[in-house]
């Protein structure tokens, strides 16, 4: 109760950001005066509402609500009422645009939570995992069912402080997670004995009593498991894992590729934890099986493991595809007539086929015993005197690393109290220390990036806070020892030190976290495959393609970063990153293997830049068809940083053509829709940016005509041409890309804003405009070189501001 009274004191006054006036005076005010104030002004207030006194404090949600209503009503054509003179659609659009822009800025401001004296920004699930890895050297499988709940995002960003909420369920999971990782990282019990579980084809595939017979006949080793595409749950076995830890898995098998077809693809999938443990195309002749080895982290328990041939193919369920348990499979020639045919008459495979001999699971494997984290935590070794002073030193060291700043004496006291209570209850020294470690891992200081202080308020970050911000920005994990040392010395904020550190960090492999997470969030790649493409319309689509699509975009970003290329590469280029699967999808020959590699493009490939990558073209689709309006909206959001105003509620849907009408392209339907002037005002801005990509279907395939089901006659030809709001015309996606390159400065500014949103973990506000513009200016001076932009951003005022 005491605390409740205490915290009612001191309420901080927040600065309100004034809305910019220029456009209001020029466009909005005259519009109101001409069309609105007669009924909603000084003399009359119909519906108790007047517009002329509506405050421009958009951050206030009641005020924002009124503005939203004004926007919706005039957009709808509901206001001014029918009998009054109609405003021109472009006038309506200007006013609606202005309101939308203010609302969007204000929302950003709210997401910034910039008024807080102390801000708490929770670690995302990815950051939690990385931080635990660095702190304790163990893997926590965050996306397993026993892991952590999935994080929400805001405009694609999964690390925005105000959006990452926390509930009791999170705390329970954090507690359980802390126990799990400490149990694995510390040597508090006997050394776990590595064991080997061996699955051989004869034991997994044949009836038990047949095995001894096969053995006596010397055939047991010759049995193989034939795995055709779509084998689904046919090959699923229970794996008993006694101890959580790292396991080494060896798979012996052959993989037969049919002439002109794809290689079979081995996927080992743990059903109960919903995780693919391993996936790879396999090519090895029937008589020369290969042995592959991989490592995976498995939680204790019984896991149902599926061995899948993950390529499209005929459905084996429709016909008995394989020998029964009493008739083992030996080779491609030993087939029965009623089974699905595996080969042609020359015994060449008809389908991608896997022939599995054995799988071996060995573990848990330990680097050393006690594990390195144990040695690091109990730093004085086995011979140390196990007294409270040692416990205090252990807990203080660990808390300092976990909190990413020196632990305070009162914090250490509380941890020591836990230690002492545990001792009293009869726990040994190590287990009592563990109780303290548990508390550290559940503390708000660990789970949140805490910035600001009540004792010494400052508009700038402390060096400790800066170390964390920087480290989570580029590495998605806690600062390493060297950053901590610089913070300790208080030198990190010095431009030369900071510059050297950024440079070092950008050359560290850990920067991979930034190179994949930032593009994934900025470009909203999480949406790829969210509406799974319809298998009937897109039979080629599979998970491998989906991963390759995302990998193209993230590795493309990585390439631009790595070589410090210009931002222009995101708009257009004569190269991209492909693997064999995606190259096949694009119809580009000569790319081999699964790894993404830089490939030169010809004009007739119709690719280059981000906008014609399959991931981007796919993420806006709904699984059955492409959606030009959503594509246009995505371009406005992600490339121009300028999201369009929302559509008015209850729009009438597009009706399909009747059977006796000719087939109509989506474009024609959208254009018919746009004949409504009130829709046209906004869609004039949105649609051309999407319609330019008509030649790409919902999964990014290049095409010349649109496959339309309804109606009669030929499929309509596609027309990607269009006109931008400012009157510039284009005939194709390539030409639009050129026009966008002319707008490089708009993109540059949008990019800087996205980078800052990611780095500062908050929405950008009016106040951030100037610093953002100056970073953008610097970028321009450096020819938009990407790595330089990142470095300049870190060295800017903005990055070090609270």
């Amino acid at each position: 109760m005491l605390l409740l009274t205490l915290l009612l004191e001191c309420t901080s006054a927040r600065a309100q950001t004034p809305a910019p006036q220029a456009d209001f005076e020029r466009t909005v005010k005259p519009f109101f005066e001409q069309h609105c104030v007669t009924c909603h002004g000084e003399k009359k207030q119909k519906g108790d509402f007047r517009v002329d006194t509506l405050p421009q404090n958009f951050v206030n949600s009641a005020v924002a609500g009124h503005w939203t209503e004004v926007m919706d009503r005039i957009n709808d054509g509901e206001m001014p009422p029918k009998k009054q003179p109609r405003p021109r659609p472009d006038e309506v659009a200007q006013v609606a645009d202005w309101i939308a822009a203010q609302l969007s800025e204000a929302e950003s401001a709210r997401q910034s939570a910039i008024g807080e004296r102390v801000s708490f920004r929770r670690l995302s699930r990815e950051e939690y995992r990385n931080t635990i890895r660095d702190l304790l050297g163990v893997t926590f499988d965050t996306s397993d069912p026993a892991g952590l709940p999935e994080d929400p995002d805001w405009q694609g960003f999964e690390r925005i402080g105000t959006v990452l909420t926390l509930s009791a369920a999170h705390v329970e999971k954090y507690l359980a997670a802390a126990e799990t990782v400490l149990n694995e990282a510390l040597a508090l019990g006997p050394k776990p004995k590595p064991e080997i579980t061996r699955w051989s084809a004869s034991t997994q595939r044949t009836n038990g009593d047949l095995v001894p017979k096969l053995r006596t006949r010397g055939l047991a080793d010759k049995v193989r498991i034939d795995i055709v595409p779509n084998n689904g749950a046919l090959d699923a076995y229970d794996l008993h894992v006694p101890t959580t830890g790292e396991y080494v898995v060896r798979v012996k098998l052959s993989g037969l590729r049919p002439a002109g077809g794809r290689a079979p693809r081995l996927r080992i999938y743990a059903t109960d934890i919903g995780r693919t443990l391993f996936e790879r195309d396999i090519e090895a002749p029937e008589d020369q099986p290969v042995t592959l080895e991989f490592r995976t982290h498995l939680p204790a328990g019984t896991h149902l493991i599926r061995v899948v041939n993950a390529v499209p193919g005929p459905n084996p369920e429709e016909r008995a595809s394989r020998p029964l348990g009493s008739k083992p499979f030996f080779n491609m020639k030993s087939r029965q007539p009623w089974q699905i045919k595996l080969t042609d008459d020359d015994y060449k495979p008809l389908w991608p086929t896997l022939l599995l001999d054995s799988i071996e699971w060995e573990g848990p494997v330990q680097q050393s015993w006690p594990p390195p984290a144990h040695q690091q935590i109990f730093f004085a070794g086995e011979g140390a005197k196990k007294d409270p002073a040692y416990a205090r030193a252990i807990l203080s060291r660990f808390a300092t690393r976990a909190f990413r700043r020196p632990v305070r004496p009162d914090e250490a006291d509380r941890l020591m109290k836990l230690f002492e209570n545990s001792r009293k209850l009869g726990d040994d020294f190590e287990n009592s220390v563990k109780t303290g470690l548990l508390a550290v891992l559940c503390s708000d200081n660990f789970l949140y990036l805490v910035e600001g202080s009540t004792q010494a308020p400052s508009p700038r970050l402390t060096d400790w806070e800066l170390a964390s911000r920087l480290s989570y920005f580029l590495w998605s994990t806690a600062p390493d020892q060297r950053l901590m040392d610089q913070a300790q010395r208080g030198t990190l904020h010095q431009p030369d030190v900071l510059g050297a550190e950024v440079h070092r960090m950008m050359s560290d492999p850990k920067v991979q976290a930034f190179a994949t997470s930032f593009p994934r969030q900025w470009l909203q790649l999480r949406r790829v495959g969210m509406f799974e493409p319809d298998r009937k319309i897109y039979p080629d689509y599979d998970e491998y393609l989906e991963h390759s699509m995302v990998a193209e975009t993230t590795s493309y970003f990585g390439e631009v970063l790595d070589h410090n290329l210009s931002l222009r590469a995101f708009l257009a280029s004569d190269w991209t990153m492909l693997n064999e699967r995606l190259a096949g999808h694009y119809g580009i020959e000569g790319v081999k293997g699964e790894a993404m590699q830089r490939v030169a493009l010809r004009p007739e490939d119709h690719r280059g830049g981000l906008l014609t990558q399959a991931s981007i073209l796919g993420l806006t689709s709904d699984g059955t068809r492409h959606r030009p309006v959503h594509r246009g909206k995505w371009v406005l959001e992600s490339i121009y940083g300028n999201p369009p105003p929302p559509p008015p509620p209850n729009v009438t849907p597009i009706k399909p053509a009747a059977m006796n009408e000719p087939k109509t392209s989506l474009r024609a339907k959208i254009e018919a829709h746009r004949s409504d002037a009130s829709c046209a005002a906004c869609h004039r801005k949105i649609d051309p940016l999407g319609l330019a990509f008509e030649n790409y279907d919902a999964i990014g395939h290049w095409r010349l005509e649109e496959a339309v089901r309804d109606g009669s006659g030929a499929n309509p030809k596609l027309d990607p041409s269009g006109e931008l709001v400012d009157g510039r015309k284009f005939a194709s996606a390539d030409e639009l890309k050129k026009l966008m390159e002319d707008d490089i400065d708009k993109f540059n500014l949008a990019f800087v804003k996205k980078l800052a949103t990611y780095g500062l973990r908050r929405g950008m506000t009016f106040d951030d405009r100037k610093p953002l513009a100056s970073i953008a200016d610097q970028a321009k001076a450096h020819e938009y070189a990407m790595k330089t932009i990142v470095e300049d951003f870190v060295l800017s005022e903005l990055f070090q501001k609270r």
Partner: protein, 463 residues
């Protein structure tokens, strides 16, 4: 004897924690109940509530029931419920006033009725959901306060929730989707036996306590405006502390022995029917064994409504709902609706055959079923498809179609344009879904006369 022992143990534990003086004022009542329950007079019979959500609305042309009152004809979608006709009421014309003109945020607000304008620039802030209000009252009787189930684990994203339940702070409560995990959480053996578990919980409490202490010292220095995130953390930790108390108190009450088989087998979402029925079985099991009295179940979220390959539907429900008026797609949506209603009928079967004492479980269990959307293609949220089943023993009467669209002349043409016109704006502004929720709250003995924008309970179903 055992009561005496554990009470003494509780006392010594609190002492161990930090001495009584500094202990946070925790509502111990709930946690203590099972201990007192053994000696107390037979408690009042349980009251239960289940909330089942289907995403993206329905095909209104095959869902809409045509005649108001008792002698209505079941529509095509509702036909699978024929045998349960007397056990439910079907509603037409209900809506959430705050949900009109919204899109997929309707799932986030189905049980909260909150105003979340997903398309405008307001910050996302939800409010407590009706199930959690109920759980505040029922949780003292059960091992688990409530159970959150869904097609996807976690909370989803703001405006595309994959959970129906929201805490007092308006924070989404993560749901679970895996039958095996849910079963193990409910019925699994305590690791290492009761004594070891008690020590574990004990430690857990002391850890939580230390962590709370730490955060509170900072909170003291902050102004009221500064604390949203820290408060969220503090409330959550305190919640877990209470849950730990409850678990602790329940340790001496043995868990019921039930067959794990059906839930430990491999149930996948590619077999939608099997998956749905397994989840319904779990709910019945949890209710029958009184592990909880409140369950929310998202049969599908707005972005993740299962395809049903077993009846040849390969598109997700979201895809079907953007039918664009296409007849084939609408037919598939109708089939999907029928399929879901067959599974729901299975659920009601189970609730009828499982007994609670001498009466069917359904008698003291209310099941609210429906969607937050009516016409998916352009995201309309009026005239929601809603049913309320069960609860006869709590004083509900069923067997009718309550039609707020056309209370007098309930003749529908059941064509496309009519459907569209019913879904945009409510015909009866007072036909609020919150009224029905208020009715449920009162039947669950939650002491209130108001839920969000409710006007009054639905008198027609109160017997």
């Amino acid at each position: 004897m055992s009561n005496f022992l554990s009470q003494r143990w509780l006392l010594s534990r609190r002492h161990f924690l930090r001495g009584l003086g500094a202990t946070v004022a925790l509502p111990m009542l709930g946690a203590m109940t099972p201990l007192r329950g053994a000696t107390a007079a037979a408690a009042a019979k349980p009251r239960r509530s289940v909330f089942v959500y289907i995403p993206n609305g329905v095909n209104g042309m095959t869902w809409q029931v045509s005649k108001a009152g008792r002698d209505y004809q079941l529509s095509r979608a509702l036909a699978p419920l024929e045998k349960h006709r007397d056990a439910f009421t079907v509603f037409s014309g209900l809506h959430h006033p705050n949900g009109l003109g919204q899109a997929h945020v309707c799932a986030d607000t189905w049980l909260t009725g909150a105003k979340i304008d997903a398309q405008s620039a307001r910050q996302y802030h939800n409010t407590i959901s009706v199930d959690q209000l109920v759980a505040e009252v029922t949780s003292r009787h059960t091992r688990f306060a409530s159970l959150e189930l869904s097609i996807a684990s976690g909370t989803g994203q703001p405006n595309n929730s994959s959970t129906l339940a929201f805490s007092r702070d308006g924070v989404p409560l993560p749901a679970e989707d895996n039958p095996r995990n849910i079963f193990d959480r409910l019925f699994g053996e305590e690791q290492g036996g009761v004594a070891a578990q008690r020590i574990r919980l004990n430690k857990r409490r002391s850890v939580l306590d230390a962590v709370l202490d730490d955060a509170k010292s900072l909170r003291r220095d902050l102004g009221a405006d500064d604390q949203t995130k820290l408060d969220e953390y503090l409330h959550s930790v305190r919640d877990v502390e209470q849950r730990t108390e409850r678990l602790d108190a329940w340790l001496d009450v043995p868990k019921p022995k039930v067959d794990a088989g059906p839930f430990h087998r491999n149930v996948t979402k590619d077999q939608a029917g099997d998956y749905y029925r397994t989840m319904f079985d779990l709910i019945v099991l949890a209710l029958r064994t009184d592990m909880t009295r409140v369950v929310t179940y998202m049969n599908g979220s707005e972005g993740n409504g299962l395809a049903i390959p077993e009846i040849g539907i390969t598109q997700s429900r979201h895809q079907l709902s953007h039918h664009g008026g296409d007849k084939d797609v609408l037919e598939r949506l109708a089939k999907s609706d029928e399929f879901i209603m067959r599974q729901f009928s299975y659920f009601l079967d189970k609730l009828k055959t499982e007994l609670d004492g001498d009466d069917p479980l359904l008698d003291r269990t209310m099941v609210l079923f429906g969607s937050g959307m009516s016409y998916g293609h352009s995201h309309s949220n009026s005239n929601l498809p809603i049913l309320l089943a069960g609860g006869r023993g709590l004083g509900l009467k069923h067997g009718q179609h309550i039609d707020y669209n056309r209370p007098k002349d309930s003749n529908y043409k059941l064509d496309y344009d009519e459907w569209l016109s019913l879904c945009g704006r409510p015909k009866d502004e007072k036909a609020r879904l919150s009224n029905l929720m208020l009715t449920m709250l009162q039947k669950m003995e939650v002491n209130t006369n108001q839920f969000v924008d409710s006007i009054a309970p639905v008198s027609e179903i109160i017997g």
